[in-house]
């Protein structure tokens, strides 16, 4: 049995940056899971007497224009953000993985076709594509997820394709073929493990981007339906009153900053650990 210190988690815990990342991310995940328990108020409850209340012991992060508790709404927003991010990233990563491997292994014409497809999608600015798709599709979280998948799977595809291409003719793959290894064994035992490192790093770095896209779309009013406590919606509510009650938009930005920092740190720590060639010592 491998000693715990040598497992991926063990090695991550030895890296201060990874520990910070894990603390932030698990804090956010726990807050999202137990949002109903932690929240001091009902996130939907409007208290007209306490509109625009500044942060206090009663309302930790103040209230918005309808007298709703911002802290409770942000906790609910965490659920939405994590749900969108997890779903969208897994779907686009999976599509990217399959298409990237097909491009890497397939004949030249397939590779060129897929590359053209990837490049075309990447050429569109995310927000333009989001506005166009939002006009076509009903308003809701699934539209947000579709927008994210459409704009980001090509990035995974490109990374996987490049890795596959460079590995396909590597000497150790030839050695496996010379030994009689089947195509499936080569793909799953020897190519995939070497592709997954950069792939997971990309996924970790991509999660906060996805959350920001959701916030951005909700901010523009093309994301979640009105009344949904998304972080972007909180930002938008705060933006309208930025001159008089700046704490609404400030507290709306806080979780976005935390989530971006957390996953970026995690991505960098993973990159250091997943590539054995970069790993110093054991």
């Amino acid at each position: 049995m491998t000693h715990f210190r040598y497992t991926l988690l063990g090695r991550l815990l030895a890296d201060p940056m990874a520990v910070v990342a894990i603390v932030i991310i698990s804090g956010l995940v726990l807050a999202a899971i137990f949002a109903d328990v932690i929240a001091p108020h009902d996130f939907r409850a409007m208290n007209m007497a306490d509109r625009f209340a500044p942060p206090s012991w009663h309302y930790w992060l103040g209230t918005d224009n309808l007298g709703r508790d911002t802290f409770s709404r942000l906790l609910q927003g965490g659920r939405i953000a994590l749900y969108v991010a997890m779903t969208a990233v897994s779907i686009s990563a999976l599509i990217g993985l399959v298409l990237g491997m097909l491009a890497g292994f397939g004949p030249r014409w397939l590779d060129n076709t897929l590359l053209f497809f990837f490049d075309t999608l990447r050429a569109y600015p995310t927000i333009i594509l989001a506005l166009a798709l939002a006009a076509l599709l009903p308003r809701g979280l699934s539209t947000v997820i579709i927008v994210v998948v459409v704009t980001s799977f090509s990035e995974y595809g490109r990374v996987v394709r490049t890795q596959t291409l460079s590995l396909k003719n590597a000497e150790f793959i030839l050695a496996e073929r010379a030994m009689g290894a089947s195509f499936g064994r080569i793909v799953f035992h020897h190519i995939l493990p070497n592709v997954l490192g950069p792939f997971f790093i990309l996924a970790a770095m991509n999660l906060p981007v996805v959350i920001t896209i959701e916030a951005g779309m909700s901010f523009l009013g093309i994301g979640v339906p009105p009344g949904t406590p998304s972080w972007g919606a909180t930002l938008k509510d705060g933006f309208d009153f930025i001159r008089t009650t700046p704490w609404i938009i400030l507290s709306g930005g806080l979780p976005l900053i935390l989530v971006t920092l957390g996953f970026t740190f995690l991505g960098e720590a993973l990159r250091d650990q997943l590539d054995p060639k970069l790993r110093k010592g054991r």
């Binding site: 590597a170 150790f172 035992h189 054995p276």
Partner: protein, 330 residues
């Protein structure tokens, strides 16, 4: 010679020379280049044949063609009495023909431990590796490494250690034939010696037939029985190792040997310098393909192509004007 275990008949390997739109404007004869151009040779059971030649002479491609990693454009490969070129049971062949690649570290899958790497051949061929731990350890010890290497990753090994793992892996399934591509490449001279001793020891104890591809002429005497010299994808001379080293018949062989540094400062050897560069594979010279660089070339060499014919040393040579033995010159 006993019955050959490996026979090559006119083995030819082609690669696309030009691609894309330019291929449309290129005469069909020049669209493909021949990296290996009609090689025939026999390797007897238990023998060690070394294939030498400059970079780009087709040595590595020939080795890869033998075990089917690159397709043959023409010709046949026979292994142990059966043709390999149209076999469906490649897996069975690959169990019996082991290959060692040039880059000792780069030919080991980077995310597998040495234990995984050593046991993988058994998994590939669905063979029981009875007592997995013991099997891996025995293979490793046969190659001269200890148990503490089992948990290491390839990047944690030195070149020599990785080469030993490669040797252990190649021997895992008890092969009949071993194809070794530059087994000493990238190793210190002292390590080269250890690896050669290891290979020699294993050859004897396992009764292996080996084909060694190398451009390191210093190792020939220690390991090879016969030597084949390749130039532009063809064999130009083939003979017993001693004759190739001391009394080459083909001018190219002599130039190759002369270019090799001689460790003995008192030795006097005939210097034979080559002119120019190796011609491109898609622009082969007429007649004898070596005439453009041959110091002995005569006018008809550019016209008539020589055939491989028996040489004075008991080997074969493809030259119109083979060199006499050195004793006759000096």
């Amino acid at each position: 010679m006993n019955t050959p275990i490996l026979s090559l008949r006119d083995v030819t390997v082609e690669f696309p020379g030009v691609s894309g739109l330019r291929a449309l404007f290129t005469p069909s004869g020049q669209r493909r280049v021949q990296a290996v151009a009609g090689v025939s040779l026999d390797v007897a059971a238990g023998e060690t044949l070394a294939i030498v030649g400059e970079s780009g002479s087709g040595k590595t491609t020939l080795a890869r063609a033998i075990n089917g990693l690159v397709p043959l454009a023409a010709g046949e490969v026979w292994f142990d009495g059966t043709p390999l070129h149209d076999r469906s049971d490649w897996r069975e062949v690959r169990r019996r023909v082991a290959m060692m690649f040039q880059d000792p570290v780069g030919s080991l899958s980077p995310r597998k431990t040495v234990r995984d790497l050593l046991l993988e051949p058994f998994a590939i061929h669905g063979m029981p590796s009875n007592g997995r731990e013991e099997t891996a350890l025995r293979l490793l010890q046969d190659a001269g490494l200890g148990a503490d290497f089992l948990n290491r990753y390839p990047h944690e090994l030195s070149g020599g250690q990785a080469r030993r793992v490669g040797v252990a892996r190649a021997l895992a399934l008890g092969p009949t034939l071993v194809l070794a591509d530059e087994p000493t490449a990238g190793l210190d001279v002292s390590i080269q010696g250890e690896i050669l001793n290891l290979l020699n020891g294993i050859k004897v104890s396992h009764g292996l037939t080996t084909v060694i591809i190398t451009h390191n002429l210093n190792i020939l005497r220690h390991i090879a029985d016969r030597v084949a010299v390749m130039y532009l994808g063809r064999i130009v001379e083939l003979g017993p190792v001693e004759d190739i080293l001391t009394s080459p018949v083909h001018p190219y062989t002599q130039a190759l040997m002369a270019a090799n540094p001689e460790p003995d400062p008192t030795a006097r050897r005939k210097r034979l310098a080559l002119r120019g560069e190796t011609p491109a594979l898609n622009d082969r010279p007429s007649g004898c393909e070596f005439h453009s660089r041959c110091p002995m070339a005569r006018p008809d060499c550019a016209v008539r192509a020589p055939e491989l014919a028996p040489s004075r040393t008991g080997g074969i040579v493809s030259c119109h004007y083979p060199l006499p033995a050195i004793s006759e010159v000096s």
